[in-house]
């Protein structure tokens, strides 16, 4: 439905769906997914490809279809990622067709020697495929064979595939030479020599391969250790060395040195004991983050103890903001460089206590325009349904107590994790 105006433009390049690469599909396959994969690659209907294989498998084409199919199966990589499922609707039809072809071939003896070769070659391809498919593209073949996991199935596949290949090859030889007694002896002899030769090769190269495998393993472990070490080195370099350099440059300023050391300590602890939650999600993590900010800004220490935890919501973040303001006030006015922060999350109540042993003040003396305490702490708590209490004694210190009732029906985060 293009308007003529647009028609004057050169045709926009319609992005045709990229032609899928030739592979064995897993979703909607009938047998192994070769036919459907081929059909998707060629852009035709799968049933046409399947019928084509069937037709080629008849004695008319000397059983070429069979050989083609098995060969494709052996060499095509399997599709990854799709959920495998089999399309069983066409099963009966193709099973009947296949039986019919076999019946015609065997009963009428229509098959020529070419047909026999086709079948035998197909068996060889089948055996090879069984072995090749063992080797996953993401794993190297050595550990596929030597790996402890699935070693049994690996042996089965190797043995079965090898046997199929051997049968096919011997069959072709027999068909070429003819089944006389002498020729069978010859074949058996050469087979014997082959086995002996293979045994010799295994004897020579077996230990070598085994050693390669061990070496590979130890190399892999070494790489993992190296990565770990590089990780630590990067952290030390980015943070610790940097902080140490700063400390040396600021050595004459004890407050700054303490601030740097404290910040680095916090970073290292975070690195060692991975924080259990993000500051935006959890009450405890948010409080710890706020305490960290105050420590960094004012060069003091905040001893943080959090009991229990809870998911963040607007009320909880108001509580955290009020607690932060209380810590800032203590840092600015108390005159000491150590603050205690204690928070407890009970099912129906959150409480936060910010305490310092500083100069203290007379609460009645707080000027009405002192925005910090009024607006940031008291009003904020009231707006969100909580309460705040400031207790201070001149010379002994100050404690800000914040409480906020919360909905106890909301699952406590600890319970959710714990059960």
């Amino acid at each position: 439905m293009r308007s003529p105006v647009i028609d004057t433009q050169p045709d926009p390049i319609v992005p045709r769906p990229a032609r899928p690469p030739l592979r064995r599909v897993r979703g909607g396959r009938l047998l192994t997914g070769v036919a459907r994969g081929l059909a998707e690659h060629l852009g035709i209907r799968p049933i046409l490809v399947r019928l084509g294989f069937m037709l080629l498998a008849t004695p008319l084409f000397e059983g070429l279809g069979m050989l083609l199919y098995v060969a494709l199966w052996a060499v095509l990589p399997s599709e990854v990622g799709t959920k495998p499922w089999q399309d069983r609707r066409q099963w009966p039809v193709f099973a009947l067709l296949g039986l019919g072809i076999v019946f015609i071939t065997v009963v009428t003896g229509w098959a020529g020697s070419g047909m026999l070769f086709g079948w035998l070659a197909a068996i060889v391809a089948l055996g090879a495929g069984v072995i090749w498919h063992q080797i996953k593209p993401d794993a190297d073949w050595l550990s596929t064979i030597m790996g402890t996991s699935g070693r049994r199935s690996a042996a089965l596949r190797l043995g079965g595939g090898g046997a199929l290949v051997a049968i096919g090859v011997i069959g072709i030889l027999a068909a070429l030479v003819g089944l006389t007694r002498e020729s069978i002896d010859n074949v058996l002899n050469s087979l014997l020599f082959t086995v002996i030769a293979l045994g010799g090769i295994a004897l020579v190269f077996g230990p070598l391969i085994y050693r390669m495998y061990l070496q590979l393993n130890s190399e892999r472990e070494g790489r993992a250790r190296e990565a770990e070490r590089a990780d630590i080195a990067a952290m030390v370099h980015d943070q610790v060395l940097h902080t140490l350099a700063l400390i040396q440059r600021r050595a004459e300023d004890p407050r700054e040195v303490a601030r740097l050391a404290r910040g680095q300590e916090r970073a290292l602890r975070n690195w060692l004991y991975k924080p259990s939650a993000h500051a935006a999600d959890k009450f405890g993590a948010a409080l710890e983050a706020a305490a960290g900010e105050v420590e960094d800004t004012f060069g003091i220490t905040v001893d943080t103890v959090v009991v229990g935890d809870r998911d963040m919501d607007p009320h909880v973040s108001a509580l955290v903001a009020a607690a932060r303001e209380a810590m800032v006030n203590a840092a600015k006015h108390s005159g000491v460089n150590n603050i205690s922060l204690y928070a407890e999350a009970e099912p129906d109540l959150l409480s936060v206590f910010v305490r310092d042993r500083g100069t203290g003040f007379d609460i009645d003396d707080i000027a009405a325009d002192r925005h910090g305490v009024r607006g940031s702490i008291l009003d904020r708590m009231h707006r969100h349904g909580g309460s705040a209490e400031v207790r201070s004694t001149v010379g002994e210190g100050t404690e800000v107590r914040l409480t906020m009732p919360v909905d106890s029906t909301e699952t406590m985060s600890d319970e959710r994790n714990g059960q």
Binding site: R269, N270, L272, Y273, K274, P275, S276, G284, E288, T301, D303, V305, V306, V307, G308, S340, Y342, E344, P347, F353, R355, E399, M412, D414, E415, N417, G418
Partner: protein, 218 residues
Amino acid sequence: MNEVPEQRLRVFLVDDHAMFRAGVRAELGDAVEVIGEAGTVAEAVAMIRTALPDVVLLDVHMPDGGGRAVLEQVRATHPDIRFLALSVSDAAEDVIGLIRGGARGYVTKTIAAGELVDAIRRVAEGDAVFSPRLAGFVLDAFATKNQAPVSDPELDQLTNREREVLRLLARGYAYKEIAKELYISIKTVETHVSNVLRKLQMSNRYELSRWAVDRRIV
């Protein structure tokens, strides 16, 4: 601080950092008598058994098993020697592990000298010493939110009073301040804390061990 020389407490330092031992020794000064120090587990066990100190200041993290190994080996033969854990690690499993191993207290290495001397004295008298963080850990571990059946209510639950005392400890209150706040004597506060320590050491409460491992917050 009464500095009667013959009553000075005999203290032993165990820490694998010689610099830290020297620092503690200097900080403690004349308040206590440091009768020896050791930097390895084997050395510590052997020396403590011969020196028989009143209190051992014990580092948590050391090669060959750490403070826990020293605790277990010494307490097997000398159960009356008292241990105060002193560590930079605030990891719950370390703290709870040492307390369950028999230490009578836990303080962090950043503690002020005066408070450390107080803590040593308290431990020597058979009381318990909880840092705010340890108090928080205990509150968390004994929280009532897990309604798992308790086998022994006497050991597996804290009384309301003990909970109150722990909360104040976690808020950074000193024993004297706690006593004032709750209108009880300092001796009563000490009794409560000692009872909590006993529960912490004796309780088989499943959450205690699980919680300590689960919680990796600093």
